[in-house]
Amino acid sequence: MNILLVEPDRALAKTYAATLIDAGHNVVAAATAQSAIQAADAMKPDLVILELQLVEHSGIEFLYEFRSYSDWKSIPVVVQSYVPPAEFNDSWELLKNELGVQAYLYKPIATLKLLLEGVEEWSVAMHKS
């Protein structure tokens, strides 16, 4: 599975990428919204894992840009962020319905095991569809 990992923290990105690569996935990491769009263009991702807190342009701005291209409208996006779930109450509907976010993982409690299980589920769902 081609995974685009949008993670601004380089040390964390290395750990997430190594875990996903160990599980047999092809991973490209991008730190900014702009470099993520360029990476998506180059790699044609099957799944995007996205942090919302980025420098300059936020993850939500990235999502609006990403979904504006017809090729990328149906690519699953999983938000994995520091932003606590309680702060999502107002924006979850927007993220889910308008921007096609499949799931939300709160970083402090989302273990690597949980991430890998989620990726497997989305991979199976993708192949069925």
């Binding site: 601004p8 380089r10 040390a11 875990t19 730190a31 420098v55 520091y82 690597l112």
Partner: protein, 239 residues
């Protein structure tokens, strides 16, 4: 505890504590995930885990120092300080963090500078806090694989400026001023600089403020950064 915030002065309050707490999520998360990755893969990353934990401890220490200095629980003993030696020691403390973030940390202390009148521990803590914040922030701003950060000093018409610099444009004075105001309300008050709460910048700001110094944006040759203006100790110069 607290100091009235006018937007232009450092905030030392519950907001700064909250900012430090938010910032500490990052190293704790890194430690938790690195340990889990080691368990899953068998990789030995104990060096990285130790470096991350050490840096988190320094952030807490530096925050505590800022509070002590500001609340005058700590005797502010000014002494004649060599800027070069403070920069060297700060570089030593930041070395492992820079390595973890693939940042090439350079020390530029080639000039001869007069000793300055400062609180040595405070000045070093401010430079380490600032350096750590910029080391984490640089890779979040750029797709470049190898980034450079310089701990440096230079003379200006206002005194000797000691700071942390990179070739990526950093904050403007306005953005720093705005960040101090946003610390009250935003999870990411230094949006142009950092993906996190950027608390290292605010801790440095608070320490320098307690020492009657000021954090400001600064240029060093063609590099951009943040630094503090220090006054030479003319008494020592005469000796």
């Amino acid at each position: 505890m607290g100091r009235e915030d006018s937007g232009g002065t450092p905030v030392l309050s519950q907001q700064l504590l909250l900012s430090v707490a938010e910032q500490l999520k990052l190293p704790l998360l890194q430690i938790a995930r690195k340990a889990e990755h080691a368990r899953l893969s068998g990789a030995d990353n104990s060096d990285e885990i130790q470096a991350t934990a050490d840096m988190a401890l320094r952030l807490i220490d530096n925050y505590a120092l800022a509070v002590r200095l500001a609340t005058e629980q700590y005797q502010l003993s000014l002494e004649s300080v060599s800027v070069s030696s403070v920069l060297y020691d700060a570089g030593q403390q930041l070395h492992d963090l820079a390595k973890a973030y693939d940042v090439d940390l350079q020390l530029n202390i080639s000039g001869r500078f007069s000793p300055v009148q400062a609180h040595r521990q405070g000045l070093q803590a401010a430079l380490v806090s600032l350096g750590a914040a910029l080391i984490e922030a640089l890779p979040a701003q750029s797709a470049q694989p190898q980034l450079k950060l310089q701990l440096a000093a230079h003379r200006s018409r206002y005194g000797i400026v000691a700071g942390v610099y990179s070739d990526t444009k950093q904050l403007s004075n306005e953005a720093l001023h705005h960040g101090r105001e946003l610390l009250r309300t935003s999870r990411q008050p230094l949006l142009q600089l950092s993906h996190s709460s950027g608390s290292g910048v605010f801790v440095a700001d608070a320490i320098l403020h307690a020492m009657n110094l000021r954090l400001q944006t600064s240029r060093h040759h063609r590099l951009y950064g943040l630094g503090a203006v220090l006054q030479p100790n003319y008494q020592t110069q005469l000796v």
